[in-house]
């Protein structure tokens, strides 16, 4: 289902995080940073839903 570049840093001893190669960090963040901040945000401010506010 597609190769993930996000390395599992959550299981690494925290003392070793400072030794992770720059390239690994860059690859891990590539998907996230490819999308601008607005692309990570969702709201329903412009889609008032019938039945929510007038029940």
């Amino acid at each position: 289902m597609g190769e993930s570049k996000l390395v599992d840093l959550s299981r690494m001893p925290f003392a070793q995080v400072v030794e992770v190669a720059d390239e690994v960090l860059r690859e891990s963040l590539a998907r996230h940073l490819a999308t601008g901040p607005a692309g990570h945000r969702w709201n329903k401010s412009d889609c008032p839903e019938p039945g929510y506010g007038d029940q």
Binding site: G2, L6, D8, S10, V17, H32, G39, R41
Partner: protein, 350 residues
């Protein structure tokens, strides 16, 4: 991979489970670990950009040392929305962020089930005025009632909610006549909410926003839509055409809303039955048609299709369920008035 490092991954079966809307505990943990890995990477890049001897660099270095000593705290700290929002905003500002903001945020304690956070970094991250019209006691009471409602009739949502949403940022709605709720993938676990008028509205908002966090975490691991695909979709929950990734977010969230209103119509308070069946009739049809457009567009990756087809397994059968004629008619009128959901509503930009 040949470098000995373990990558996050999701199988087709796991993507289908996410699409089904029922998340077992181990899968929730996998999603949280993906967010933790992303936030660790963000923080470490910031530490290097800022310089290990800078105030920011020293703070992050100290965080690694503290977590090394308290590994049991690691996951909870690293998936916190305060960490994610600060790291995201600081990195996008090329490392310029106040480390004291993060230190202070991590020092604030949660009260009750959710942390009501009006401070930085979430205040600036969401960028709305903080709502001060409702007391913390009232927020706590409404949250408690909303969780009770969800536990009573939406047990699976309640279970995921308590695992994934930790923080509420009370904000003023940009459109004061309407309730507002919003999420940011960077601030995983936080929901920005305008003061709700009641626990049912709050429960619906929780159900909706929870889905955005689940899908955001999924998308940190695998691409669900083809990057740069030109398709734009007119969807009934927005006035502006949406790209495939945003359309999938809307479909996933509204699938949960369909199920919320269906359960409330069938098993909830009689006084609210008409409002709930009207909402159910509207959103099952809107979600099904938007999903049909997306499945036919070629904009989904194989992973996205595995997830979306599982959403279809929830939504398409609902179209055959009998609802009162007036509710069905009202839904059709509402959708027609928005002039969307025809095949011509798939728009392409060059």
């Amino acid at each position: 991979m040949t470098d000995g490092l373990v990558r996050h991954s999701l199988s087709a079966a796991e993507l289908a489970i996410i699409g089904s809307g029922v998340l077992p505990g181990p899968l929730i943990t996998s999603l949280k670990r993906a967010i933790a890995s992303r936030n660790i990477a963000l923080l470490e890049v910031i530490r290097r950009l800022s310089g290990p001897a800078s105030a920011t660099g020293r703070m992050i270095g100290a965080l690694w040392q503290e977590l090394e000593q308290r590994a049991d705290r690691g996951l909870a700290v690293l998936v916190s929305p305060q960490v994610g929002a600060w790291a995201e905003d600081t990195l996008r500002a090329e490392g310029r962020g106040d480390p004291e903001v993060l230190v202070a945020a991590l020092g604030r304690r949660a009260s009750g089930g959710f942390r009501l956070d009006t401070g930085e970094p979430l205040r600036s991250h969401f960028g709305f005025d903080i709502a001060e019209t409702m007391t913390r006691a009232r927020w706590a009471a409404l949250c408690r009632e909303a969780l009770q409602l969800l536990a009573a009739r939406h047990g699976r949502t309640a279970a995921s909610l308590t695992e994934l949403i930790t923080t509420i940022v009370p904000v003023n709605s940009p459109a004061p006549a309407d309730a507002f709720s919003g999420t940011s993938g960077a601030a995983f676990g936080a929901v920005a909410l305008s003061p709700p008028i009641g626990s049912a509205q709050l429960a619906a908002a929780f159900s909706h926003e929870l889905q955005h966090h689940v899908l955001a975490a999924t998308q940190e691991i695998v691409a669900l839509t083809e990057p740069d695909h030109p398709a734009r979709f007119a969807v009934p929950w927005r006035d502006d055409p949406r790209n495939a990734a945003a359309t999938l977010q809307g479909i996933y969230a509204h699938a949960a809303i369909c199920e919320f209103h269906r359960a409330e119509w069938r098993d909830g308070p009689t006084a609210d039955a008409n409002a709930n069946v009207a909402a159910y009739a509207l959103w099952r049809q809107a979600t099904a048609q938007a999903l049909t457009m997306l499945l036919d567009s070629g904009a989904l990756t194989p992973a996205g299709r595995a997830l979306a087809e599982a959403v279809g397994g929830r939504i398409f059968p609902l179209l055959a369920e009998a609802v009162p004629g007036w509710a069905r008619q009202r839904a059709e009128t509402e959708l027609a008035s928005r002039r969307v959901l025809s095949s011509s509503s798939v728009r392409y930009r060059g």
